[in-house]
């Protein structure tokens, strides 16, 4: 047996060093400007107190506004993804349907969402949802003292019961918005399945539902999982816009922290870092899982 040739080690060339040097110089200049020219009194610890603060009474660290905010952001992303995926699955199938009405409805939905700025879309839907839909569903009259509502599980899943209807409205707005993008992902997934698969499934006499359930969806879902994971991360970032309709997630609370402490730079740098850590760790996890799935399939 002959061995494959050893990989040649990648070496840094002069060009690489010049690039690094340039980036370093720009950063150094920015730091110089900030510390020397900009007269600003940095105070990180005040803002850090809003992430975790030391509680004298129980003598332990307790999560404060910003950490609570990121928990709400995660809850929002979680529920919005589930609802958006459901919308996307149904609408995505309708996009590929033979029925003209179904195609038109789903097409209108997608185009409407994609051609309106997200903020405007969310304003419209929020005022519709909170004004019309919520009273109809009866979420406003939720019994705050019910055994389930006051339990810890409820808190982990939905946050503060007092803000529940507000939370649901925010999650629904996000879901309706992201659902359009997932619709397009699902459509592409279904359309990527070869015509022969449909034909073979029909030729053995499977019913329409069984064709989808046994042949088309299992194959399509494998293909759309990576872009779906990417959309989940996008959704975490997009959730910042629901701060405009007073959903108390990370960005909303950050504006409050920034205005009470007047430490604008520190607050937003920390919040940026929190978003980055959250999104990047999800991205890294997903790409790790994807690689593992690829290897397993071989």
């Amino acid at each position: 047996m002959t061995k494959p040739p050893l990989k040649t080690r990648r070496k840094l060339t002069i060009v690489d060093y010049i690039c690094f040097g340039l980036v370093g110089a720009i950063i150094a200049y920015a730091i110089y400007r900030v510390s020397d020219v900009l007269v600003y009194n940095w105070n990180w610890s005040r803002v850090f107190n809003f992430v975790l603060y030391y509680d004298e009474e129980s003598s332990s660290y307790v999560p404060n506004l910003l950490l609570l905010g990121i928990a709400t952001t995660l809850r929002l992303a979680f529920w919005a993804t589930i609802v958006a995926a459901t919308i996307g699955l149904i609408m995505g199938y309708m996009r590929t349907s033979k029925n003209l009405a179904m195609r038109m409805i789903s097409r209108c939905y997608v185009e409407l969402v994609r051609n309106i700025p997200p903020v405007v879309f969310i304003f419209i839907f929020y005022f519709f949802l909170s004004g019309q839909l919520m009273p109809v569903i009866g979420l406003d009259d939720l019994d705050k003292n019910g055994t389930f509502v006051s339990s810890g599980i409820f808190y982990i899943l939905f946050g503060d019961p007092k803000l529940f209807s507000n939370f649901v409205a925010g999650a629904l707005c996000l879901a309706l918005f992201e659902g359009a993008y997932i619709t397009e992902i699902v459509r592409a997934g279904i359309q990527s399945i070869q015509k022969g698969q449909w034909e073979a499934a029909r030729a053995v006499g499977l019913s329409r539902l069984n064709v989808l359930r046994d042949i088309i969806f299992p194959q399509a879902i494998r293909k759309i999982l990576p872009p779906l994971a990417g959309q989940f991360i996008t959704l975490i970032k997009d959730s910042a816009i629901v701060s405009l309709i007073s959903i108390q997630e990370l960005t909303f609370l950050a504006t409050e922290v920034a205005s009470t402490t007047t430490k604008v730079f520190e607050t937003w740098i920390i919040v940026g870092a929190m978003y980055f850590i959250l999104c990047y760790s999800f991205a890294a996890t997903f790409s790790h899982l994807e690689k593992r799935a690829l290897r397993a399939r071989r």
């Binding site: 070869q194 022969g196 698969q197 034909e199 073979a200 499934a201 029909r202 030729a203 053995v204 006499g205 499977l206 019913s207 329409r208 069984n210 046994d214 042949i215 299992p218 194959q219 494998r222």
Partner: protein, 257 residues
């Protein structure tokens, strides 16, 4: 209702497929022109002709993977058109084998074969497995039952596809250029399986360019050109000169080498 269909069947008891004045268009292109054809129980019909002559379209009309716009097609005594439930019923009596195999890549070989019997006739998994293994043995591939389609060669995949179609115990088998996508050394293993099937008395409609197969197995040869059936005669007549000009030209082209 059931009375009607049984009498229907009795009348045409020995004709399994019949085309009457069938026309089909793809947009403005007419793919099938006034097709009249019937296939009797146990008959082996080979359909040949130049590419684009409509032979695949014709065979795909039998189980309505393509819809015809004019004329009628009866399969096993039922007219095929529109109604999905009735169409599914017809498709369960008609097995089909494709040029590109079209196995389900996310399922094992065994699952590929058991799926239709389990879903369509509500039999137990154990029973479906038994049926599947029987047909996999028949196409001599039972030892690969737990593999996935992409682990098999083209010839093996096509044999699995035949087993998958047979597992529904169809009354007719349709073959749409079953060997055209195969490497030359694998063509014979598939043709052998088809030959065995024919000698067991299966009714078959085969679109193929394999004239050797047609000589050996066919009862009748249908030659198509430009959407029309140009020849429809017994194998003997077709291969011993009772054929028309166009068929002559076609045969001389494909038999040159």
């Amino acid at each position: 209702m059931s009375n009607l269909s049984t009498t229907d069947r009795k009348i045409d008891s020995d004709i399994l497929i019949s085309f009457q004045g069938v026309n089909k268009w793809f947009d403005h292109f007419q793919a099938l022109k006034d097709i009249n054809l019937s296939v009797k129980q146990g008959e082996r019909v080979v359909v040949c002709g130049p590419s684009g002559s409509g032979k695949s379209t014709m065979i795909r009309c039998v189980n309505q993977l393509e819809n015809h716009q004019q004329g009628t097609i009866h399969v096993c005594g039922r007219e095929v058109y529109g109604n999905m439930k009735q169409l599914e019923q017809v498709r369960r009596e008609v097995g089909m084998v494709f040029q590109s195999f079209n196995l389900f890549p996310h399922m094992s070989i065994l699952q590929n074969v058991t799926l239709a019997p389990m879903r369509n006739s509500k039999i137990s998994p154990a029973e479906a497995r038994e049926i599947a293994m029987h047909y996999l043995e028949r196409v001599q591939i039972a030892d690969q039952a737990d593999k996935f389609p992409n682990q098999l060669s083209g010839g093996q995949q096509q044999r699995v596809a035949i087993a998958r179609a047979l597992a529904m115990k169809p009354r007719v088998m349709l073959f749409d250029e079953p060997t055209s996508a195969l490497d030359p050394e694998m063509i014979n293993e598939v043709l052998d399986v088809m030959g065995e099937l024919a000698s067991d008395g299966m009714t078959m409609m085969v679109v193929t360019h394999e004239m050797g197969f047609a000589r050996k197995v066919a009862d009748r040869v249908v030659f198509m050109d430009e959407g029309r059936i140009e020849e429809n005669c017994s194998k003997e007549d077709f291969f011993t000169g009772g054929r028309g000009e166009r068929a002559e030209a076609f045969l001389s082209k494909i038999l040159q080498h």
